[in-house]
Subunit: 246 residues, 2 copies
């Protein structure tokens, strides 16, 4: 059902590098932990399932837990007073959700597909952090990474025309699949045109028009609902870099 739940990769290095509880290996908090620490974390964590459109938490809620997205896709949004929203990021299987040093979440987290998360209570996390210095370092890395991708998004939204922005989104999606070892020919794309528009600072109509333009130019194919195939990586790449030529 969920396009992301079929995967089972071999460990990257010998030994237990995957958190057996949450399956996290790629981007989650467990990545650099050794077996002892993993057991420690695992004993404190617990699973929950959410339906598509389910809300994990809302902007302003007390940040009582951190989550690892075991499987599924989430969008993170900030709401404006007038009802418009800005998507500040998408999250995929293995990603960390809701980590912050503040005491409330800074955005909503809503699932785009039926999903499973591994949740960890904040006090337990704080204990773990005290016990395992490596873990704190890990969070720092993740935070720096997140900052980097938000800045990338900012550049796209601030300085690129519509078609270039859509190209960056498609490459982002492609990359999310690539680093997870997911099928790369046809990409699962559970987000609606409206989601993509809110991510790129456009309207859903503009996104829709851009997709059909890309189809006509032979840049992409859409074999079915919620799927894309990138036919011309080169072309998309040069678009994403701001080449408005041809």
């Amino acid at each position: 059902m969920n396009p992301f739940d079929v995967v089972r990769h071999p460990p990257l290095v010998a030994g237990r590098t995957v958190c057996e509880t949450c399956g996290s290996r790629i981007a989650g908090m467990c990545k650099p932990l050794d077996a002892a620490v993993l057991d420690d974390v695992a004993s404190d964590s617990e699973h929950t399932d959410l339906p598509a459109r389910g809300t994990l938490f809302r902007e302003g809620d007390p940040a009582k837990r951190v989550y690892t997205l075991i499987d599924g896709v989430a969008k993170l949004t900030r709401l404006l007073p007038d009802g418009k929203q800005q998507v500040v990021g998408f999250r995929f299987a293995g990603d960390l959700l809701g980590f912050t040093t503040r005491n409330t979440y800074p955005f909503d987290a809503e699932m785009l597909t039926p999903s499973r998360v591994c949740k960890l209570e904040r006090p337990k996390l704080d204990e773990l952090l005290k016990r395992h210095p490596l873990l704190e370092r890990r969070f720092l890395d993740l935070c720096v990474q997140e900052l980097g991708s938000t800045q990338e998004q900012l550049v796209a939204v601030g300085r690129l025309p519509a078609d270039c922005r859509v190209a960056t989104f498609l490459l982002l999606l492609d990359n999310a699949h690539r680093i997870r070892g997911l099928p790369l020919k046809t990409l699962a794309m559970p987000m609606t045109r409206a989601d993509i528009a809110d991510y790129l600072g456009l309207t859903l109509e503009t996104v829709s028009r851009t997709f059909t333009a890309f189809r006509k130019r032979g840049l992409i194919r859409e074999p079915g609902h919620g799927q894309v195939e990138l036919l011309d990586h080169e072309g998309l790449q040069s678009l994403a870099e701001g080449d408005t030529e041809h």
Copy 2:
């Protein structure tokens, strides 16, 4: 000369809470450190002066040092292949500059005023991090904070019309002065219209027109070059929140 260098605040709490070497108290890495740690840091750090328009480091340079901006204002920019640039943030006295867990800087750092920085070699920082766990926690806090403000910026750039964006910028500037205890009637504004435009995803002409519109509406005054006075906080606030009314 530099509008930010006149300040000398009393310590917030009793004891030595300000790094005597770098003067950092507000936002820099030294904030939560006790005297012993401060001495430790101070003995490894060193000062440098930069002229206005001086470059501290460039995107892609090996991240060999971290800096604390003792005094002055910096802009952080990402460059696009076609020459356009996006300002991903401004930094003020006391702020940390160039901290990352990656091995290259993700953006350029250019001074807008004559500035002084306190620099610390990366290997020494790594040692300090090992020796003082509190410091690592501090960096995590700073990173989370930075992420939050980048997301704010993203919302403004992605979803607000020009006048609302300019209002958010003015309030940002006001806040930067407020938390530093700097004069709040007339704010020092060392950035050019082009800098502001690159921060907000606009053109310098649009920024200029918006400023004159604000002047005519009585929202602001500009007593001199590089200075603004916010006459109607309320009005700017409601603009910044997306109220396009009146």
